[in-house]
Structures are given as C-alpha cells and as structure tokens.
Symmetry: C2
Subunit: 449 residues, 2 copies
C-alpha cells in the first residue's frame, strides 16, 4: 500500500530484538519511522519503551513521544527518563506538543521538568500551559515563520531561510508590522513568483480567517476545514500575532469530537478513554445506567398502574415489549441523524422546525407500516381484531413520539447552548418507554375491557 508500515512481522522482529543487545536493537530501529515506533509502543511496557527511547537519536525520540497517543501516557515515559535525556527531548519538541504532554503531569512534576529547560523554552511552555486544552490557545504552536511587511523580496527570502533553520515545516508565512500586529499571509510561491524586488506589503493577502486564544477547538476545526487552510493564525484582541494552529492538529480534534459524540449519544461519559481499563469504564458508565434505572422505574410505574388490565389480558405483556423496543430504536435513529446534522451544520430556526416536522412524518409512516405488520400477526396468533387495532395505534403513536423527541430534544438543547449529544439514547428511550406503555395499556383499558 505504501513504502513503510508496521505489520505483525515487524512487531515480532522488534519484540525479539528486545531480548538481544542494544547495538542490534538500535540498528533494527533505524528502519522505522517515528510514528511507527509510537504505534509499537502501545503494546510495550514502560521499561521497554524507556530502553528504546534511550537508543534513538534525540530528534527521532522526541518525534516518537509527540506521536504517542495520549492514552499511552507519554508524560509518564518522560518522567522515567534520565533528567538530562529528558531535557534534550523536551527542548527538541514543538512547544505545543511539549505543552500537551507536560500539562498531564502534577504541578511539582511540571516544575521539575521546566526548571531544567533553557529559559526561552521554559517561558514559552509556561505561557502555553495557561490556555485551556480544548481552545485555539491550547492547540497553537508559537514557533512559526513570520516576516515584516516592510521587507523587500530579496531580504524576505534571506529572512525565510534564516527562520526555516528552526521550523520544521511551513505552508503559510504570516506577515506582521513592527508592533507584531498581524496583517495577513503570503505564500512562499507568491514571493518566488513576484517579479522585481517588490515589498512584501504588495504581496500580502489580508482577507484571511483568524482565531483568538479562547476560541473553542471545534470552531477552529470548522474554519480550517471550511476554508481548506493548512494553518490558521491565533491573535489577541489587539491583533498581536500569538501563534498558529495547523491542519494536522485539527484532524486529531475532529476525531476526538466525533468520539465524544458517539460516546455521548450512547450514554458513555465523553472522557472515558477508549483503551481505558474496567475501573474507568465503570466510573464513566455506571452513573448513566443509574439515571436509566430511575427512568425505567418511571416506565415500570406506568405498568404497575395498569396491573389490573394486565391481569385480565396477560397477552398484552408480549406486545408491550415490542412497542417499547421499536420506539427506542426509532428514537435512536432520529437522534443519530439529528445530532450528526447539528454537529456538521449550523441549522436555522426554520431548518430546525422542518427537521422535527420531517421526523414526525417519518414516525407516522414507519409506525403505521410496522404497526400493520404487528396487527396482522396479532390477528393470526390471537384472533382478536380489536387487540390488533390497539396495537396498531400504540405503535404508530409511539413512533411519532420517538421521531419528535429524537429530533426535538437535541435541537432544543442546542438552542439553550447545551451540547445536543447529551440527549443520549438513555434519555430519549425514557420517553418512548413511558409513552409506549401508556398508549398500549391505556388504549387497551378503554377499548378491550
């Protein structure tokens, strides 16, 4: 598929080399890309990881640590290393990556690492540590290429070459004035192509998107994705240039936000780590199950209320579960489509209204269609036409409730400024359970007894 990738043979090879001497292992590791070693690390113990980090050149070691998944806890690995090695690696890291990792540590551990760094690196990282993790400030890097708009083409190229010694990659060059006020961007291509020794100010593109340090990461991702940007500048309220967020950070943000959405609508806390152990999973899910239990008692209270009906018509029990179950699933369908739509687009009030109307119609049709099937089955098995009609009406009614609540609740939450994904299937199915039981048993009491 591509010229390098980690397959099972590689993992076996490296694992067996871990039993051999350092020299052999070092040679073998030379064949792999840092991000491959980071993947390998997921299946290794900390002491093996430490040994490998110590064998790698510092540029590779720092790249491996920055590529390690948050859940593999690179910060713990960092603490294990000899302070001198650790300082070398941290100084090699991009500031944003270093900050992400160090922010996971206790205050005194952070201090321990920062004290060993050179003053410039330490103050940059200290500054970045003040921004919340899920904002532009938390994502931004403070190392980037910027040039003064008063430079001419020749001097600008010299300046770019000088700055690019330190900066691994640049796709966009930011243009500032003498007071570090952001004026726009210019591409290396436009500078090269410019005829004559023009000033940068003649080439700068001023109409670009920017964000503030406290802009939410979802908004940053939306802008980068909407305008196909490789990076977006971060400025303060006076337009001083503070940093940039690059597209690769945003891809991670999008994956994280999507994970959050899927987990939340399924009744799992957004902060459950996917590879977490059972303790974390219990902590993250038990509270939701207890909420569900509370709502289930509500539904079962409806059943208790109709106990006399059920005693006379025990056959209703078998249909009760069908109608509640179908309502739950139809509600989950409407919920998933609506939550996803809200997270990808900004809906106007009119679009929101139309969405609920659409789900009403879908519930009516799907309810009538499946209700008809159950009606036929009821006629066949229980030869009671009136029972069939009750079931048909209850199914149709419950699927309408499912559609309206499945779409309506997340839309209302969004308008209230609450994350629509917390309208999880657990909350929604309460409505369909309670209404389903109430419709079926209530109609049966009226029409069949």
């Amino acid at each position: 598929m591509q010229s390098f990738d980690l397959d099972k043979t590689d993992v076996v090879k490296i694992r067996s080399a871990l039993n051999g001497d350092d020299e052999q292992l070092k040679v073998l590791l030379g064949d792999y890309h840092a991000s491959e070693i980071a993947i390998l690390f997921e299946s290794l113990q900390q002491d093996d990881r430490e040994r490998i980090i110590n064998l790698l050149p510092v540029e590779v070691a720092s790249e491996v640590i920055s590529e390690m998944h948050e859940e593999a806890h690179p910060e713990e690995l960092l603490l294990l290393l000899h302070p001198e090695k650790r300082t070398e690696i941290v100084e090699e890291l991009d500031y944003d990556d270093a900050t992400d990792i160090i922010s996971q540590l206790e205050e005194h551990e952070q201090q321990e690492i920062l004290e060993d760094l050179n003053e410039d690196d330490a103050s940059n990282i200290r500054n970045l540590l003040t921004y919340a993790e899920d904002t532009a400030g938390g994502l931004m890097n403070t190392e980037f290429i910027k040039i003064n708009l008063n430079l001419n083409k020749q001097d600008a190229i010299v300046e770019l070459i000088r700055q690019s010694e330190d900066i691994e990659e640049f796709y966009t060059i930011f243009v500032v004035d003498d007071d570090n006020i952001f004026h726009g961007i210019v591409s290396l291509k436009d500078i090269i192509k410019a005829k004559g020794n023009v000033k940068i100010t003649a080439l700068v593109k001023a109409e670009v998107a920017w964000v503030y340090p406290d802009t939410d990461q979802e908004e940053v991702a939306r802008l980068i994705s909407q305008y196909n940007l490789t990076s977006i500048p971060v400025v303060d309220r006076e337009m001083h240039l503070l940093g940039r967020v690059t597209f690769d950070d945003v891809i991670d943000v999008i994956e994280d936000e999507n994970t959050e959405d899927i987990l939340k609508i399924s009744g799992v806390s957004e902060d459950e780590e996917l590879s977490g152990n059972w303790v974390e999973a219990v902590k993250s899910r038990l509270p939701w199950l207890i909420i569900n239990l509370g709502t289930a008692f509500l539904a079962s209270a409806v059943v208790r209320y109709f106990e006399p009906t059920l005693e006379k018509l025990a056959i209703l029990t078998a249909y009760m579960t069908i109608i509640a179950g179908m309502g739950g699933n139809a509600a989950t369908q409407a919920l998933a489509v609506t939550v996803r739509r809200i997270s990808l687009y900004d809906l106007t009030d009119q679009q929101a209204y139309r969405t609920v109307l659409k789900e009403f119609t879908v519930g009516l049709i799907n309810g009538a269609a499946t209700g008809l099937i159950v009606l036929i089955v009821a006629l066949f098995f229980d030869s009671n036409p009136l029972l069939g009609v009750v079931i048909f009406l209850a199914m149709t009614g419950n699927l309408v409730v499912a559609g309206v609540t499945g779409a309506g609740i997340p839309l209302v939450l969004k308008r209230l400024g609450i994350d629509p994904a917390i309208a999880s299937s657990i909350i929604i199915t309460t409505f369909t359970d309670v209404f389903g039981f109430f419709l079926l048993l209530g109609l049966a009491s009226e029409l069949l007894l």
Copy 2:
C-alpha cells in the same frame, strides 16, 4: 472570531438584494468568500442559485460550485446553466472536483457536459470517472507540481514557477524520472535553502508513503493523518505517478466516515442523507425497523413461553421491562466504545480478547450495582426477598451478556472482514431482550413458583 463569516444579517441582506437589480446584487456578492456563498446556497432555490452563479466571475463561480455540499446537488445547478457558461466553469474546476460533481449525473448528461470541454480536460475527467468514489483514485487530483530529478536547482525553480501558473496551491513537490516513475518528494523550502546549483536528486526525500488508485479512502485518510501529510501521491503498480490526494479532501472523508459510523450503530442506512426528506428517511430506516420487529417477536416469544409464570406473578412484568431496558443501554455503551476503538486503531488478537474480558468485568460490576438497587426497591415495594434475589441475578447476568455481545460482535465482524458498525444497537439489543426475559422469567419459574 475571524475577519469574515456568514451571519444572519448577511443572509437577510443578500436575500433582499435578490429582489433588486443584478448590478446591486453583484456588488454585494463581491464582499463574500466563495465558501460563504456556497453556505448561503443551502437556503436558496435553484433559480436564485443560477442567477447568482451567472453574476459571479468564473473563478469564484467555480469555487462556489466546488464548495457546495453534495446534498445541495451542485450537479443539478450545473445542468441548469447555459452550456457556454457551464463549460467555462467546469474547465475552471480542479479535475477531482469536476469528476465528483459530474459523476452524480446520468450517463447521457455526463456526455453532454464532457463533449463541450477541450480535449485535455475531457480526457482527464473521463479517466477519473473510472475510479470508484471511495478510493484514492476517486479522491485524487491529476493536476499537481512535479519535477524531473535530473534538473538542477536553478532550472527546477524556473520550472516550478512555470507550473505554478496553473496550480492554485502546492505544499509538496513530487519528483519523477524521465519515465514518470515516482522517486520521492522535495519541498520548496529545501530547494530554496540548498546551497549551490545542486541537482534535485540530491534533495529528494525517498522515504514517503504512497497509495494505489484502488486504495480505500479510509486507508488514505489514516496515512495522511498518521504521517501529518499535506498530500499523498497516487501511483500505479509500476510506480508511475498518477495524482495526489490532499489533506482537505481527507478531512471531508473523515467526517463522512464518522457520519456513517454513527448512523450505522444507530440502525440507519449509511447512505441516508442528513438533510434528506422524509421519503429517503423512511426508505433508509424502515428495513432496519422491520428487522428489529423480527427480533422483537423472538423476545416476545420468550415472554409467551413463560405466560403461565406471568399470570401467577404479574408483578414480574414491571421488572421485565427494567431488566431488558438496562441490558439494551449497557450493550449500546459497550458497542459504541468498541466500534469507535476499532475504527481508530488496529487491534491485535490479544487486545481484542482483553476488550471482551474488560466488558465482561464492567457488565458484572455495573449489573451487580444496579441489580442491588433494584433488589432494595423490590424489598421495599413488594416485600419479597426471593423476588429481589431473582431480579438481582437477572440484572447481573443480562449486563454481562450486554458487555460481551456489545464488544464481541463488532470484533468478530471485523475479523470476518465485515464493517463492525453494522452490529447496530438493533442487533445487539435483541440479545439483551431475549436473555433478559429468559433469565428473569426462567429464574422466577424455578425459584418463586
């Protein structure tokens, strides 16, 4: 937040300008970015869209059309336009965008558009139309910067400036030999920084990822994200360079794949358009609801089987729904975490085994915890200790089944090469309904009668 964005005032302003004359409208439109006009289009009718497209300069018009969401049907807008205007716009589009849009049309409509184009554009688009939409071939663009590895620095820069007249953006320069065999990449920065008039072959970075035209888009997205690439080359089996896929296409792929995952685990067909009408929604969801109905009959058969027990102990009905409902929610939790984990990481057999073991443990603990609560409630309301024990055991057992099936079924599907997300909540809750009823009613028959 940023220097331009479409808010309600803008929409109102443009909408009212649509009632005025063309000149005013044209001036107003000049204030907006193409991607903003594309967003505005979502709330306009086709005839207003057509009018606006005709007023815009062709570069902006083509960008608007390429930025329009698939669901706003840019291909239908294209058909509405005067053939001359349409040809201008299509020739301005990037080949990959033109192909995406044209591929949505009927065969004869495609021919109509392609016949008007110049030969070069038409043959490029015809070629791209042969690749499946969800592969690297379907995503790739065939316009990109490539240089021969035998060029020296000075000639290479001249060549780059020549090629960059046609190519809007380039982040990576591809290096080929005389036979168009791909040899690696070089960055503009490295060329500029190189000292002396060196040959490109001395600067080329050969160790890069590539893909074939039939590589699945998910794999393309994974590579671009893992290696933080701005673009990835597409080559044939003989390593001839065919095109490139850029990071911005991949962000769209990631969003689409995530939408698919959320919809599928919620029992909605992956091809339901989020903004689709009720007809599409019914078509996409009714089949799943009918499958669910089938499985619900299975669960209700268990209830029927135990009818004698229920007639003697009607109180079980109230607890039945609680235990089945809790099982369904716990299964959805395990399912969501596992499906998401599979889609983000490649799990080894050992990790898969551990995942199921973890969910077994989580089910046991959450089942016992919530079972205990229900036991206490049962003691309080129904003063029947043995009934309490039956409920406790059924709840614990059902949540273990929920955990094991919720994690196990998607993992098994993945091993079989089937998309794990089709293990939707609809499939999974069948297990918890059937087992839940069976456990509660079976235990009750044995212990309480």
